[in-house]
């Protein structure tokens, strides 16, 4: 495994800034913190909601050459993400359909391990099947 290879970046899109930031902190700690996990939560004026501008900035910061996985917290965030992606043609971005916390942790750990964008997205989506008990 090459240590210089770029890692997939992760963007966590939540209606709540605190939820996005807390989840990013958790994913960073569990994974050892060697990939970029960006939080894009809340509206531009700090209310509950989503912001295409915040998401776009997070995607740009998360990209280090291996692509970016975007995880939305609820279905309605998907609309904002899709609108944002239309403004970024050619961006290597995958939108994951996964549980927010579990998907973020699984994706981040898999990205730290050096997996490509497809495998990182798959790890997030496999979180649907992970049992806690």
């Amino acid at each position: 495994m090459s240590q210089v290879r770029a890692r997939v970046g992760i963007v966590l899109v939540s209606h709540s800034a605190r939820l996005a930031e807390g989840t990013a902190d958790l994913a960073g700690q569990v994974s050892g913190g060697t990939v970029r996990v960006l939080a894009a939560g809340g509206t531009d004026d700090g209310e509950l909601g989503t912001s295409a501008e915040k998401i776009g900035a997070a995607v740009a910061s998360a990209e280090t050459g291996a692509g970016v996985l975007v995880l939305p917290d609820l279905g309605s965030a998907v609309l904002t993400v899709r609108a944002m992606l239309e403004d970024l043609p050619g961006a290597r971005v995958v939108l994951a359909d996964a549980p927010f916390v579990e998907g973020a942790v699984a994706a981040t750990v898999t990205a730290v391990g050096g997996a490509d964008l497809k495998a990182v997205a798959q790890a997030a989506e496999e979180a649907w099947h992970a049992r806690k008990l």
């Binding site: 569990v30 898999t110 391990g113 790890a123 008990l133």
Partner: protein, 89 residues
């Protein structure tokens, strides 16, 4: 393909951070690696699977690997388990 396995008694509970360290380390090996605690078994490369084991202090945990670098994978993961779950940790 060579297979390898080793069992360790956990000094502390297997929490989120050691589970993450285990999964990251396992990803660096070509071998298929499993972690078994009691009746539950998980792919060591799946952090959620490892966390779902709910492995606690005093429990015996077996790391088993199958593949070209199986022995190295088992040694690395056992070392992480020993370091990350110290007695009273």
């Amino acid at each position: 393909m060579p297979a390898s396995s080793k069992t360790i008694t956990l000094g502390g509970d297997l929490h989120a951070r050691p589970a993450g360290a285990l999964a990251v380390a396992a990803a660096g090996f070509a071998a298929a690696v499993s972690v078994t605690a009691g009746t539950k078994s998980a792919n060591a490369k799946s952090v959620l699977g490892v966390m779902g084991l709910g492995a606690t202090a005093g429990q015996q945990v077996t790391v088993a690997a199958d593949g070209p670098d199986a022995a190295a994978a088992v040694a690395a993961l056992i070392a992480i388990l020993a370091d990350a779950t110290p007695v009273g940790g």
